[in-house]
């Protein structure tokens, strides 16, 4: 570290860097869940999908030497897990909450089991774009090292928002989420729409997992996700099922996750673990603040019931 001493300015800078680095998995998982929930289904299993994505991406990168192939495989695995969830939920008398929790445990467990051999070896990382080259301050350069997946995530948020509003496909997804009767009335197959939306949502979550193991933190271990997949699901409610707001909320969570290392970098070492809990506390606080039962959940898809 030969950088200039930025004093307290280091904290917001580190949080910005954190928002850019840490938020990417949140962006992908929350967009995936957003898409799934807009179609009228809840997929709580995305935490498991995230872990499976991380493990398979790391393994593929290790074996093939190509991290981008790893991302692709992770997306494919996510797609399959999403499709599995959707298929299970379509069976009669199957509850999507219970199935989701089951698949969360299944995905996490399977990732641990199959990922054992990948804990030690070092796989090639996804590279980063140096968007901070204009600055002479090394901390700024470091903060603005941006992974392409982050940019893809931002583009995806806007693309999803546009598609939900302007395409036939997007409108039918929303219709399936708002009113099964209305969807049936125009001849849309609600089951198929939800199957596709859940599968694609799973693929997004898989990509989020690939980012975890191939860029930041950039290794495979069992504590990799630490509940980020679940937080992302909560985040969708906070974002009122709006992809753009999912993006902002993800950045906020990313920044909150960076509070603790940022404070450490300026010498505040007390309460490191306390500050590490910031994203979790934030999740709780946001849920309490925004989801009070006295207010109606505006924007909630009409068919999204906790119990079917």
């Amino acid at each position: 570290m030969d950088g200039t001493d930025l004093g307290l300015w280091g904290v917001p800078l580190a949080m910005l860097a954190g928002a850019i680095r840490v938020s990417t998995p949140f962006i992908f998982v929350s967009l995936g869940e957003c898409l799934t929930e807009r179609s009228g289904r809840i997929n709580l299993g995305l935490e498991g999908t995230l872990m499976m994505g991380a493990m398979t991406a790391y393994g593929t990168a290790l074996l093939s030497g190509s991290p981008w192939l790893g991302v692709l495989v992770a997306a494919g695995v996510g797609l399959l897990l999403g499709a599995l969830h959707a298929a299970l939920c379509q069976l009669p008398k199957v509850n999507d909450i219970a199935t989701g929790i089951g698949l969360m445990l299944f995905g996490t467990g399977l990732a641990f089991f199959l990922g054992k051999p990948y804990i030690q070896p070092k796989a090639p990382n996804l590279g980063a774009l140096d968007l901070g080259a204009w600055s002479s301050i090394s901390q700024v350069q470091q903060a603005l090292q941006v992974n392409p997946l982050f940019l893809i995530g931002i583009a995806l948020a806007f693309a999803l928002a546009w598609a939900l509003k302007n395409t036939r496909w997007g409108l039918i997804v929303r219709l399936a989420g708002e009113s099964v009767d209305a969807a049936l009335a125009i001849g849309a197959s609600v089951g198929r729409v939800r199957l596709l939306a859940t599968a694609v949502g799973g693929a997004f979550a898989g990509i989020g997992g690939a980012f975890l193991s191939l860029y930041y933190p950039g290794s495979w271990n069992e504590g990799l996700s630490s509940g980020q997949g679940l937080m992302a699901v909560a985040l969708v409610i906070f974002a009122r099922w709006d992809p753009i707001r999912c993006l902002w909320a993800s950045l906020l969570f990313g920044a909150a996750g960076a509070i603790s290392p940022a404070l450490q970098s300026v010498g505040v070492t007390q309460g490191y673990y306390l500050f590490s809990a910031a994203p979790y506390v934030l999740t709780l606080a946001l849920m309490i603040a925004t989801c009070s039962p006295a207010r109606s959940l505006r924007g909630a898809p009409g068919e999204l019931g906790a119990v079917k």
Binding site: N166, T167, R168, W169, L171, I172, R174, L175, E178, S179, D181, A182, A185, I186, G187, A294, R295, S296, R298, G299, A300, P301, G302
Partner: protein, 503 residues
């Protein structure tokens, strides 16, 4: 524009289990007619039109459209033939705008939608329609009247030329209903559309309909031109006998002590705005206080606060001089009974049986529960059986899920539960909404009976006739406040009407 088709339904029979909902019913609807379908609750009107629309598969029956036989096995086939249905409940998707709803229901969407062009097309379509709704507003933000207009406009937008309306005006004010019906009438006389309407309102039948078909217990009673019918004949055709049982004689009695006192009560609605503001009202033993007003002026929130479904923001409720917070023990102690509107949603557990629903007030007291812990089924079922008998609830039995009962019978079951405890305070909201004449007369009589034996009754109703007929004292609510308070005997209907409209 399209031309109105004729429709003939021949020999329709539909059984649900052992019960025949329809028994060999035949109806002919002329092209361009405004045809009314009359009948009591459970007479088979809805079943008939649902068979015609392909929602139910009839056991027997033949459909002639423009005198040619057609098969309708699915609603989509009905839609393709130009048949459309407007329901009592709304089918527009609340979280989407009017434009999105209309375009989506067309069903033939391009991969990417050109919203600018669609908006222009809908705007120019709305120039040809007699009424419009805001294009870019989410349907959730529209008032009930606008929603129903939207439902009808969507049918016209989809070029449906035979509309089946299932009690379309039950959510509208009389003025809104007239506006909508006048327009539809004009479309039928122009020969553009044919209309079949299910209704309970004779006024609308007399004013707008050309012909009336009456069903009773799944059987066809007859089809006659409206010009040949008067209200008495129609009522007789519907119920099968002259229903002379009118409202029970009200005893003249001086009101007793105040049972319910509202002291500056304020209640917020779901969005957090004050729906009831600083309300002061006393209701005394042995009187019916009728709260009149157009729906949406705070009546619903007031009833929800009294029933314990909603917290008060400010002010107090006192019952028998004690502060009342609408808890279950308080309701038991003060003998409070409550019949909210939409009882299936607000006062029942839809999946539970009729007996269990009837026991909701008393299941934890003897004899249903000897110790407040264990439950005993047989006394519950016994009580239910007696009340089903006494209140003439039509149900397959005490163990049938209450969800399967018709609206009027759910209402009767809840009324049975609430009135059987001989309460001191009875809170009733729109008790006769959507019910047929016999049920209306019976329920009103029971409310007056409760008053006669000394209960304090708070009656909230959107039906001014009901208020005038039943109340001892009338108050009008407008915008969450009391706009008028008057003795029923001295009531000036003009003044009440003006107060309801906020003058």
């Amino acid at each position: 524009m399209t031309t109105a088709p004729s429709l003939e339904l021949i020999g329709f029979t539909k059984r649900f289990g052992a019960m025949a909902a329809l028994d060999d019913v035949s109806v002919k609807i002329e092209a361009g007619a405004f045809h009314a379908l009359l009948g009591e609750n459970g007479a088979g009107k809805s079943t008939l039109v649902k068979c015609a629309m392909g929602y139910y598969a009839a056991d027997q029956g033949q459909i002639l459209l423009n005198e040619r036989e057609v098969t309708i096995a699915h609603p989509r086939q009905a839609h393709d033939l130009g048949l459309g249905m407007v329901y009592q409940h709304f089918t527009l998707v609340p979280n989407m705008t009017v434009l999105e709803n209309f375009v989506l229901s067309r069903g033939d969407l391009p991969a990417v939608i050109d919203w600018a062009a669609e908006r222009r097309a809908l705007k120019s379509f709305f120039e040809t329609t007699p009424f419009t709704v805001p294009i870019d507003t989410p349907v959730a933000d529209l008032a009930a009247g606008q929603k129903q207009k939207g439902e009808i406009l969507r049918q016209l937008y989809l070029k449906r030329n035979l509309l089946i309306l299932d009690e379309p005006t039950s959510v509208l004010t009389p003025d809104e209903a007239d506006e909508v019906l006048t327009t539809l009438k004009k479309l039928t006389t122009d020969g553009q559309i044919t209309i079949v309407t299910i209704t309970h309102k004779f006024r609308e039948v007399n004013t707008y309909c050309d012909a009336v078909t009456v069903l009773r217990r799944g059987k066809l009673i007859g089809t006659r031109p409206t010009s040949e019918l008067d209200n008495d004949t129609m009522a007789e055709m519907m119920v099968g006998r002259r229903e002379t049982r009118s409202v029970v004689e009200r005893e003249t009695r001086a009101p007793g002590k105040a049972v319910l006192k509202l002291e500056g009560l304020s209640v917020a609605d779901s969005v957090g705005q004050l729906a009831v503001e600083d309300l002061k009202l006393d209701i005394r033993a042995g009187e019916i206080v009728g709260i009149a007003g157009v729906s949406g002026n705070g009546q619903r929130e007031l009833v929800e606060a009294l029933a314990g479904q909603r917290d008060a923001e400010a002010g107090r409720m006192l019952v028998h001089g004690e502060v009342y917070t609408a808890t279950r023990p308080e309701m038991v102690r003060h003998k409070i009974a409550c019949l909210p509107e939409e009882p299936l949603r607000n006062a029942c557990v839809a999946e539970m049986s009729v007996a269990e629903n009837i026991a909701l007030r008393s299941f934890d007291q003897p004899p249903s529960s000897p110790d407040g812990i264990r439950l005993r089924r047989s006394p519950m079922r016994e009580t239910a059986r007696k009340l089903i008998e006494a209140y003439k609830v039509k149900t397959p039995g005490p163990d049938a899920a209450i969800r399967g009962l018709s609206g009027g019978n759910v209402q009767r079951a809840v009324l049975a539960r609430e009135l059987s405890s001989e309460g001191d305070l009875l809170i009733v909201a729109n008790p006769c909404f959507g019910l047929d004449f016999a049920a209306v007369a019976e329920i009103r009589a029971r409310i007056v009976q409760a008053r006669n034996r000394g209960a304090a009754v708070l009656l909230v109703s959107e039906d001014l006739d009901e208020i005038l007929q039943l109340s001892d004292r009338i108050v009008v609510m407008f915008d969450g406040k009391l706009a008028l308070e008057t003795d029923a005997a001295a009531a000036d209907v003009g003044a009440i009407g003006r107060a309801m409209a906020g003058h």
